[in-house]
Symmetry: C2
Subunit: 407 residues, 2 copies
């Protein structure tokens, strides 16, 4: 088993063990934010027929007839279809987006016409093709509308509705179970006995999973179960989910429940421990197609491990690019800490005065929840870094919840 490896090695090991989940068909009403699992092509020309771009009069011109005066043959209303064609010198009232009769060479907008005695008089110059929308102007039959891996936006869903598409093939959402380890951890809604602690990581991870487009199947604790019971619990969750996230019990302390339970299931550890702070006690294992990601129990370490390891995995399972978005930002604070392993500080990135800036609040200890309430970025400081000075440029990773990973 690889221990204490680089973050990039860990992420690569994870992503290389992931195949995007199979596709399923869903209705457009439930498709927002899901990911296309195949290319989508236009089924036919759109618009399907020659349309008017304006309310006005379709006219047949261009063969010697008087181009100023037209006999009004009929006026179409929205929804009407012309059962006639125009002969030279004839006009028909048409509406925006409506079909024009065959034989029409142009449409004159209403405001440039006068209707009198059954004749339409044109007050402007008419050129052939004016205000006509050709079939296929928007999409030609066979045009690609979305590639595999595209997130279904409102506009894409709308465009598919224009074709009457009632089923869209998307990647399945990953099912994720959360298992909070630690003998002292009780469900958050339970009153803890002295020495016990409420499980805040479970619901925190569940919300992160939801934010990443996956589905939470369970949030459970194990308390002081025997190792074999922890193993059974883990196996139960693995049957229901594609990914099990464990939190806690991953330190090399007195009660290492995580690695122990993982080994008992027969899962193959990919790595255990990465060279970052916080979150060094992160690991991962695979059992057939199922993935176990073990995160630290300290809240900020759990968060860091989640963003750096679980988010890329959940994105890869949905057919999305697992690479995080990085940019350089100006740091608004001073950080006295220095040295040690590569460090990730939770911060708030914002665009201000024409540059990316990032600030971080108090409560950066890995045991503390305060820095987790409001952050949208991780500041990535290299191993052995000197103290960070105000106005220094730092490399940050934007979290997908706050930012366009999916431009």
């Amino acid at each position: 088993m690889l221990t204490n490896i680089l973050l990039e090695e860990a992420r690569e090991l994870l992503v290389n063990n992931i195949i995007a989940l199979p596709g399923r068909s869903i209705s457009p009403e439930t498709a927002l934010g899901r990911v296309c699992c195949q290319d989508i092509h236009a089924l036919h020309d759109l618009p399907p027929f020659l349309q008017s771009a304006v309310d006005g009069y379709a006219v047949s011109t261009g063969n010697g007839a008087d181009d100023k005066h037209y006999l009004l043959k009929e006026s179409l209303r929205p929804g009407d279809y012309p059962g006639f064609s125009l002969k030279p010198g004839q006009a028909a009232g048409v509406v925006t987006g409506g079909p024009v009769p065959s034989g029409a060479r142009a449409v004159i907008a209403q405001e440039f016409t006068e209707l009198k005695g059954g004749y339409v008089t044109c007050l402007s110059k008419v050129n052939q093709g004016d205000n006509l929308k050709q079939p296929g102007e928007d999409f030609h039959s066979g045009d690609i509308m979305a590639k595999r891996g595209t997130i279904l936006s409102p506009g894409l869903i709308g465009a598919l509705a224009a074709y009457g598409v009632s089923q869209i093939k998307v990647f399945q959402r990953p099912k994720v179970a959360v298992l909070s380890l630690g003998r002292e951890i009780v469900p958050y809604h339970q009153v803890p006995a002295p020495g016990q602690t409420r499980d805040s990581n479970g619901i925190f991870l569940a919300a992160l999973v939801e934010q990443d487009g996956a589905e939470v199947t369970a949030v459970e604790t194990v308390g002081d179960m025997e190792p074999v019971q922890v193993k059974y619990r883990l196996e139960k969750l693995l049957r229901q989910a594609d990914v099990v996230l464990t939190t806690g019990g991953a330190a090399s302390g007195v009660c290492d429940q995580a690695l122990n339970a993982i080994r008992l299931t027969g899962a193959r550890p990919l790595f255990w421990g990465i060279k970052i702070k916080p979150g060094s006690h992160s690991g991962a294992a695979v059992l057939k197609s199922k993935l176990i990601i073990a995160l630290s129990g300290n809240p900020a370490a759990c968060a860091t491990g989640y963003h750096l390891l679980a988010t890329p995995s959940l994105r890869a399972l949905q057919g999305l690019n697992p690479e995080p978005v990085r940019l350089v930002a100006v740091c608004k604070n001073t950080l006295l800490k220095k040295g040690g392993p590569r460090r990730f500080v939770r911060g708030n990135a914002f665009w201000h005065q024409n540059k990316w800036q990032v600030s971080f609040g108090p409560g950066q200890k890995s045991s503390m929840l305060r820095s987790l309430i409001n952050y949208n970025a991780l500041i990535d400081l290299p191993a052995g870094h000197p103290p960070v000075e105000e106005r220094q440029e730092v490399s940050i990773i934007l979290l997908p919840s706050c930012n366009p990973w999916d431009y």
Copy 2:
């Protein structure tokens, strides 16, 4: 009724007519993305008791006893609570995040100790307070954890779980109904007769509404209903929803269903027509506390009106800041169009080579769906603008779906 007004005037009229919806209590499991409707304060100190920051030994020092050797009194496991106190020269095994016995002055990390013959030997220098986490280190009782208007992030939900909070007071989600007008419009899943058009705007708007955190109560069409029937339909939707979005039937053409139906309900129009392109045929009306926003029928005009008028309204109803995020970006394309009213072009903003850039695709006619498939910004060009040149700086509005409005 105000007609053909400035966009900013229209938005102000709308937002000034909006009071945020009342609050309701929901469970933390369903709270992601919802908005706090009151300030939340820490109920008590967190951690609630003196904790160890590491696995190791709590020791009682500092009163003349030998600071190297300690009698091991007891070893605590995770979840244990010490029913004893330490006297000078005594030690107790403690775990990360666990309570330390009273009388402890410091905790020595396990790796700097040796255990032999019932005595703990300390291999490093010990300072009073080392590795002790004071009660309230994370939150003091009464500290503000979230202000009214804060979006519930995973971390905030987790921090509230650490307090056992099982109900969170949030603003109600706005209920929104969508009514697609136009005699020729049929539900998207229906096969259109010749001259009819599938309703793609309805589901497009429904997805935008969902993206903006509101709840869709209905997506309906009216076809060739009589005006009074359209009025009844609108009234039915207004009973079920806080906001009704209409699309289509808003031009001054042959079948102006929108304003007609709105007037028949007795709603008070706020404005009708704004000086922008596309989306000039946008209007709004109020009926008691209910809001009607009338959008164009052309897809891109409908989208523009939605982003500029409906999104701010839905945000204000949820207690969020309705102001859009603006920034300056370098345009990657040439736009030959010029002049006319203030113009909004649908584009893709992205951060590249250390600057914001924006590109726009083909299909910018307001009748076309193509530009709606993939855009995250509106390029805001002033009235009478010259053609836009490649590399020119333009003002853009980032859409909330793609960007941190909520830093």
